[in-house]
């Protein structure tokens, strides 16, 4: 019997796991947690995306896990390298909330959660990966955990509400 490891990724990071291990990320606000997995191979990758587009970067090296447009492609590569089959990949996503409901933060950054979700979906569509389930938007933070064996994404909010998608 092997010991189950919960691999934890932080903000603007990504990682891939194989069953029985699980992968989680904590405190998603406007960020989006995107999971790409092949359930037949029990392999899954997760990215904690902060911003919609790498064109928003102000020069320097780009951390591909940070931007929706670069993270999806890089994540697919990671999952395939770990044994995932391209045609069998599915996606689940959570996050993209609006944590503060005022406009003083500058119009550009206010809708960032929704824009992150839009761009992640656009990228998944580009690579023909169906979104099987999602829990996005709203005004709550989320902690998510994905089980590659079952394909279940557990989502917990600050009020300890638990749901599985």
């Amino acid at each position: 019997m092997s010991i189950v490891q919960a691999v934890k990724i932080g903000i603007a990071e990504m990682e891939v796991v194989k069953a029985p291990n699980v992968i989680r990320t904590c405190g998603l606000g406007s960020c989006v947690g995107v999971v790409i997995y092949d359930i037949g191979k029990a392999v899954a990758g997760m990215a904690h995306v902060m911003l919609p587009h790498s064109s928003m970067a102000r020069g320097g090296d780009i951390n591909v896990a940070k931007y929706a447009d670069t993270a999806v492609e890089a994540l697919i590569r990671l999952v395939v390298a770990a044994g995932g089959r391209k045609g069998m990949l599915r996606a689940k996503l959570a996050g993209g909330a609006q944590m503060f409901s005022f406009s003083a933060a500058g119009g550009d950054m206010m809708r960032i959660g929704a824009r992150n979700v839009e761009e992640v979906k656009k990228q998944l569509e580009r690579f023909h990966i169906p979104v099987v389930a999602e829990d996005v938007g709203g005004h709550n933070g989320r902690t998510i955990e994905f089980h590659p064996q079952t394909g279940v994404l557990s989502i917990r909010t600050a009020s300890q509400e638990l749901k599985e998608i």
């Binding site: 903000i11 904590c26 606000g29 902060m50 003083a104 600050a158």
Partner: protein, 210 residues
């Protein structure tokens, strides 16, 4: 400032002094407001990746009460006043004179606006001390309130920074009740200047940006 890692010891000292002056003024304002003595810690200046930073200040999943303000003017940035929810409740009870107040009872408008106002007063005094010290014009936005996971609320303040790199410079000052110094620290001020603001602040204080 192109790379936050190129800061020298002098720069760090300046940032620490900013935390000192700002939070010192805010602690005084809070102690007048609540009519009790409030102490503050020596400021910490953290330079870390976003993920590391979340861990350093208590973990992204920890639930906090958070008042957020955007700083506009010569040196834009983000300011957070973060409290454990129970502590926020105690402050609100004292401010509105209702000992039964709880954030659990749904969105209480009076309680929320009291906490927002508290954040407003504290951040205002932090910033006015900072503005006096640097002779820069700094204006706080209307405060916004959230009670949620630390990672979820604080990541909003990292968005501007994250466009420039993967490191944040965080100026963290804690305040606590003098009579219970060994109990968990009551509140934190987090100042996260935008990347361009560092050179402005350093220049204003007569130190070159690099």
């Amino acid at each position: 400032m192109e790379d936050v890692r190129s800061l020298t010891g002098t720069h760090i000292d300046i940032l620490r002094e900013i935390g000192n002056i700002g939070a010192g003024n805010a602690a005084t304002a809070l102690s007048l407001l609540l009519n009790k003595k409030i102490e503050m810690s020596v400021p910490r200046v953290q330079i870390a990746t976003f993920a590391e930073m979340m861990e350093l200040i208590g973990g992204p999943e920890q639930v906090v009460a958070c008042v957020y303000l955007r700083i506009e003017g010569d040196a834009p940035g983000n300011m957070f006043f973060v409290l454990p929810p129970e502590q926020a409740e105690r402050f609100v009870r004292r401010m509105i004179g209702d000992d039964s107040f709880s954030f659990q009872d749904g969105a209480d408008e009076l309680g929320c606006s009291a906490l927002q106002e508290l954040g407003n007063i504290l951040a205002g005094s932090y910033l006015s001390a900072l503005a006096d010290f640097t002779q820069l014009a700094l204006h706080p936005s209307v405060p916004a309130l959230a009670i949620d996971m630390l990672g979820a609320v604080l990541s909003f303040g990292l968005l501007e920074l994250s466009r420039a790199g993967d490191y944040a410079i965080l100026i963290d000052t804690a305040i606590y009740d003098e009579r219970r110094p060994n109990e968990s620290i009551d509140g934190h001020f987090f100042l996260l200047p935008d990347p361009e603001s560092f050179s402005t602040i350093f220049r204003a204080l007569g130190v070159s940006g690099r």
